[in-house]
Amino acid sequence: GCSGNKPVATENGTSSGKGTSASSNQVYAIIAKNTGNPYNQAETQGFQDAVKEFGGKSIVRAPEQPTAEGQITIINQLIAQKVASIAIASNDANALEPVLQKAMSAGIKVLSCDSAVNPASRMVHVDQADPVKIGQVEVQAMGKMMNYTGEFAILSATSTADNQNTWIKYMKEELKKPEYKKMRLVKIAYGDDLPDKSTSETEALLQSYPKLKGIISPTTVGIAAAAKVLSDKGLAGKVYLTGLGLPSQMITYIKSGVCPWMYLWNPIDIGYITGYVSKALVDGTITGKIGDTFTAGRLGKYTVTKAADGGTEVLLGPPYKFDKANIDRWAKVY
């Protein structure tokens, strides 16, 4: 469900709750991918809400650029502060291994959320949605929109983005099913999460493939840029767009039909669960092995399961669908 919380301005700094449990003296840290991104903002907000709820102290950090180098520095600083747990939305699955292992050997509980680190560098991962599911629903949506026939393309972020590549991999798996045999994926373009590059990539797609009937863009910058190009060119209803987008960025385009519907999860909830997983690890309620269970505040009970990469994870649920009916409400939240 919706937390109803408005994102609060103070992204950073510590805030302490008034709880009295054993966790109250503990410090829980979360590291987002980078600053200045509303998605990360919402995610860390959820984390802070959870920590406040159970009465701990939270630290929110993020490097100014989405790089592993910046995250390593931050983790080192957190180790020096002897925090109880570190949750991280990683910029590189493998690059954080040495530093996270150092953290774990210093007795700090380490978990990843949103974008996983490799199993060796974490105790558990909080997964927003099953990547297989994400791949599937997007191809299914595209199929429905373009009537299962014709050409479509994918507009991704950078060519090095791990989660993008995983989703694209599962999209291709899904496409092998017979119902999509008349659909053809003509190109994977990379807009590097830059509005200008995403725009010219979209324009190039339209130029190079005049018969193009759809675009899947599993990235918030890409989908917004593509939507802008399609609506500027008056292609609503001719070229369909779907993917993963932020409701507040996409509300206009969903209403105008350029993007009939799209998906995302609730980043606030990811942060929120991450907060509770941190607590559970620190309290010793769970150790991160399969079958462990814990309660995540208002979201209820969760179980640790096996993750696709061989580690363990806590799965939030299926991706959430945004369409004309619910976009108004969500656009106000994030």
């Binding site: 992204e11 600053t35 100014e64 060519s159 725009t199 990539e201 324009e203 130029q207 910058v221 206009t252």
Partner: protein
């Protein structure tokens, strides 16, 4: 006869770069069009030109700065800040007239440029350092004022988005704005005292001082102008992409500098022509537009782009050396 060769020499001196660039642009265009005939379609060309408009506007300001032997690395951050402030204002008052929005952006830009001017002129900080510092500071400020949020199309007024989308006589507003600014800058640089003083200061600051030009005043104004252009470009950017983000135009300063240098603006100061800068912007614009079109692997794009810039500047050197050699050989020795 003597006069003829002399004039030809001047033509080569003044226009060789432009001719070379034009040939290079034509070569690249034709090569691209062979791979993808859609390149020369009206739609693509007009997309490309409007995508290049903002770059070409910034290049004017950068050229003026570089003529004074300076450089401005902060422009992308100034763009982000002015774009963000304007977008936030628009978000708060949807009814705000687009004209006013442009003015707000301009004001933010002028302010940003003014602060840099103070450091460069009053405190004699090398431009590359002052602007490197404020590149960080303005970027940080952008994140702070936006509280790390974005302003999306949903929060913008239609009028605001029409700034970049609208057309006059079938020509995109951005292109019109760019053309107006080029005309204005052309007059300013070539037909006003102040314009020539900018060249003088860049060519030899010492003698400018000795001959009574207020070099501080010139330098101060130059960075303010650059700020104004960046402020304006920030608003246009946000309007065009309907999204104001903290990382707007990150790293864009390098494209602008590259456009200037391709256009023959010497980093040592003193020389630079608007026609060259326009062609330089156009070449970069074409590369940005063409690489996705010719379907090279995305992994190859940036290597190709870097290599083409290098080839362009190196071939210009060969071209220039050849011209020089020919002029020498024509001398009656």
């Amino acid at each position: 006869m003597g006069k003829r060769t002399k004039n030809l020499g001047r033509f080569q001196r003044d226009w060789s770069r432009q001719v070379g660039l034009t040939l290079f642009i034509i070569a690249v265009s034709v090569a691209v069009d062979i791979r993808n005939p859609r390149f020369f379609s009206v739609v693509n060309l007009s997309d490309m030109i409007s995508n290049t408009a903002i770059l070409s506007i910034l290049a004017i300001g950068m050229m003026i700065v570089i003529i004074t032997a300076g450089i401005d690395l902060s422009i992308a951050s100034t763009m982000a800040l002015s774009g963000m402030v304007t977008a936030l204002t628009v978000q708060a008052n949807r009814g705000l007239s687009p004209m006013l929005a442009l003015l707000i952006g301009l004001a933010v830009g002028v302010l940003c440029g003014g602060v840099i001017s103070v450091f460069v002129v009053r405190f004699s900080v090398a431009p590359i350092i002052a602007t490197l510092g404020f590149m960080n500071a303005y970027r940080g400020l952008t994140y702070l004022v936006s509280h790390s949020n974005w302003v999306g199309p949903g929060q913008m007024s239609n009028g605001f988005m029409m700034i970049a989308r609208g057309k006059i006589l079938g020509i995109n507003n951005l292109v019109i704005i760019a053309m107006l600014l080029y005309l204005l800058a052309f007059y300013f640089l070539n037909y006003t005292r102040f314009g020539r003083q900018i060249y003088a200061v860049g060519s030899n600051a010492e003698s400018a001082k000795v001959s009574g030009i207020n070099t501080n005043h010139v330098l101060f104004t130059v960075y303010v102008i650059m700020g104004a252009f960046a402020g304006l470009a920030g608003v246009l950017w946000v309007s065009k992409f309907a999204s104001a983000q903290g990382d707007t135009a990150l790293g864009y300063e390098m494209n602008v500098i590259a456009a200037c240098v391709l256009g023959g603006v010497s980093l040592r100061g003193g020389s630079g022509k608007l026609s060259g800068v326009l062609l330089g912007s156009l070449l970069l614009g074409i590369l940005n537009d063409a690489l996705p079109l010719i379907d090279v692997s995305p992994f190859w794009q940036s290597a190709i782009q870097g290599a083409i810039i290098l080839v362009a500047v190196i071939s210009n050197v060969f071209f220039k050396r050849r011209v020089e050699y020919k002029t020498l050989a024509r001398r009656n020795i």
